[in-house]
């Protein structure tokens, strides 16, 4: 049995029945990391010793009859989650040596169940990017084709699943950063509704858009992991007090009579033929299972990217003001006075994409431009949100592509930031509206690259998209295909 290929659900059964131990599974995954990492670079930090110690503790716990869903399951986290005692870099030189004094709530919840942390995963610096190329620790490569990017910003989270280096991972999604890499790497990525999962201890990029979610091998694991992290947290005032449903009840094959909307603005002429084919195929599958398809319109779709890049950068410029070289992070030496120290520390600590976004956000918020840019974008955000509310009067969920193309090549879009931004056109509106979306493997491209299917749900409609995703998964085996490494 290849322990590194198992899902959470499979491994949980084996652990519970004492057929395998957490220690041997953790060893198998650490070995897998060792043999594949030089080709993938999914990890910034591998915490082998701590992982084995946690696995031993988990085995002890299981021996004492306490085996919860995640007890002894080896996981990895995007390096944006604070982990007490283990370096958290956010893929930036700014935080190269930062050791958090406390745990992010999402991780604390997994840890309290006895989950094992294998290490911290690569990403775009401060989650700003769509390809993992802006990391200060080098680009991550796509396990399906190492000449290509895994997507981003949670590229390490998706690549490590595709490379079978971790059983499941967590990422964050501000404009598509879970769903797009999941699509490019052939795994399942879920962005929950804003407020569903605590953001406490997650390094902030754009606070009104950031949300934590699972990246997994299948839909069942996404439901299991969401169950463990969802729910109100007194330490995050934007996490909602709404009860968390039992997501396992969504894991049934049942889309009969479900109304699925196809937003015409997402199925434009010039959509990549491979992506179009994957969508047609997915629609046929779900139709065959009894779902009903209705064309709908989200008329402000074309304004979403512009709206996002004003709101996200404005919030980022404010959030990243905290890196001033005083309390933590990189400090420039031999400077004259406080202000120069701050300016030079920030200049040396941040990479180009982060600086570009801070500049854009500062400009959009600056005196004389605030109304024209930031306020205008917030109003357009209202229109985008209304588009979805209108559509959801007619349908239960929406079906769209995740990304306009399969994974692009490393270096292909780095010279033109705007081209890179436009690759998030189908995922960004979901964040602006604060609703939920899941990416899952659909029919791959002719060249064998993974292509994701996106199902979008109403606010707190995770159960419905999980049910549709689970049903789709039952009739396909694309999620079982493995990258040849």
């Amino acid at each position: 049995m290849e322990l590194h290929t198992l899902t959470i659900q499979q491994l949980h059964q084996l652990l519970k029945n004492r057929q395998v131990s957490s220690v041997e599974t953790t060893r198998a995954l650490l070995k897998r990391i060792e043999t594949t990492e030089n080709r993938i670079n999914a990890f910034i930090t591998v915490a082998a010793d701590q992982a084995l110690a946690a696995a031993e503790a988990a085995d002890q716990r299981i021996a004492n009859g306490d085996c919860q869903t995640l007890t002894g399951i080896p996981l990895a986290l995007k390096d944006i989650f604070l982990t007490e005692g283990l370096r958290t870099t956010c893929a930036s030189k700014m935080l190269e040596n930062f050791i958090a004094p406390y745990d992010a709530t999402a991780w604390a919840r997994l840890k309290s169940q006895g989950a094992v942390l294998l290490g911290k995963l690569n990403q775009d610096e401060f989650a700003m990017g769509s390809s993992c190329e802006s990391s200060a620790f080098g680009a991550t490569r796509n396990p399906w084709d190492t000449e290509r990017t895994p997507g981003g910003s949670s590229g390490g989270s998706a690549a490590s699943i595709a490379a079978q280096q971790a059983t499941a991972t967590l990422g964050t999604d501000t404009g598509g950063s879970i769903r797009q890499p999941a699509s490019h790497c052939g795994c399942v990525g879920l962005k929950p509704t804003y407020g569903r999962v605590s953001r406490y201890g997650v390094i902030a990029y754009a606070s009104s858009l950031d949300q934590v979610g699972p990246v997994t091998r299948d839909v069942t694991d996404a439901a299991l992991l969401l169950q463990a992290i969802a729910g109100h947290d007194p330490k995050d005032s934007t996490s909602v007090e709404q009860q968390v449903p039992d997501y396992s009840t969504s894991l049934k094959n049942d889309v009969k009579g479900m109304k699925i909307g196809l937003p015409r603005e997402y199925f434009i002429d010039g959509l990549d033929p491979d992506v179009q084919r994957a969508m047609d195929n997915a629609i046929a599958h779900l139709k065959g299972q009894g779902a009903e398809f209705i064309e709908v319109s989200l008329p402000h779709t074309n304004y979403a990217v512009a709206c996002y890049y004003l709101i996200a950068t404005a919030e980022a410029s404010s959030n990243l003001a905290r890196y001033e070289g005083v309390r933590f992070g990189h400090r420039a030496t031999e400077t004259e006075g406080l202000i120069e120290m701050m300016m030079r520390s920030r200049a040396a600590g941040f990479g180009a994409e982060v600086k570009r976004r801070i500049m854009l956000g500062t400009y959009a918020l600056s005196s004389g431009y605030y109304d024209a840019y930031y306020l205008k974008a917030q109003k357009v955000r209202t229109l985008i949100q209304r588009d979805f509310s209108e559509a959801f009067k007619q349908v239960d969920i929406l079906l769209t592509p995740v990304a306009p193309t399969p994974a692009f090549k490393i270096g292909e879009k780095t010279a033109d930031p705007l081209q890179m931004y436009l690759s998030d056109i189908f995922t960004i509106p979901v964040n602006l509206a604060g609703i939920c979306g899941i990416s899952l493997p659909a029919q791959p491209s002719a060249a064998g690259l993974p292509i994701g299917l996106q199902l979008i749900g109403k606010p707190f409609g995770e159960e419905t998209i999980l049910r549709a995703a689970y049903s789709f998964e039952q009739t396909t085996d694309w999620h079982r295909q493995k990258a040849a490494l």
Binding site: I99, T193, T238, Y309, R344, I358, P417
Partner: protein
């Protein structure tokens, strides 16, 4: 809409970023292209539209004003680039 290098320098100062000349030049052309793109928002009439700051309606979340354990001075200072006793040390602020 274009953005001049002078404006870039002003914004960099506001953002507390010491940019190099090369960065100034690069950002001024890239930001001009991005700002030109976001101009498309002006095609939309947003008169009377209420801006959305948060997607989910949230209210102030208050907690009782009670003393709770905190991380303490040593932990709070543990990542400081420079410290003295229980303080963060910084370069001179006033001449």
């Amino acid at each position: 809409m274009g953005i001049t290098q002078l404006e870039i320098e002003h914004v960099a100062r506001l953002a507390r970023l010491a940019l190099s000349d090369a960065e100034n030049e690069l950002f001024s052309s890239q930001m001009s292209a991005i700002l030109c793109y976001v101009e498309t928002l002006n095609e939309l009439d947003t008169d009377g539209i209420i801006p959305t700051a948060h997607a989910v309606p949230v209210q102030n979340a208050f907690r009782s004003d009670a003393v709770q354990p905190s991380i303490g001075t040593d932990q709070a200072l543990s990542n400081a680039p420079d410290r003295v006793e229980t303080f963060f040390r910084v370069p001179p602020v006033i001449e």
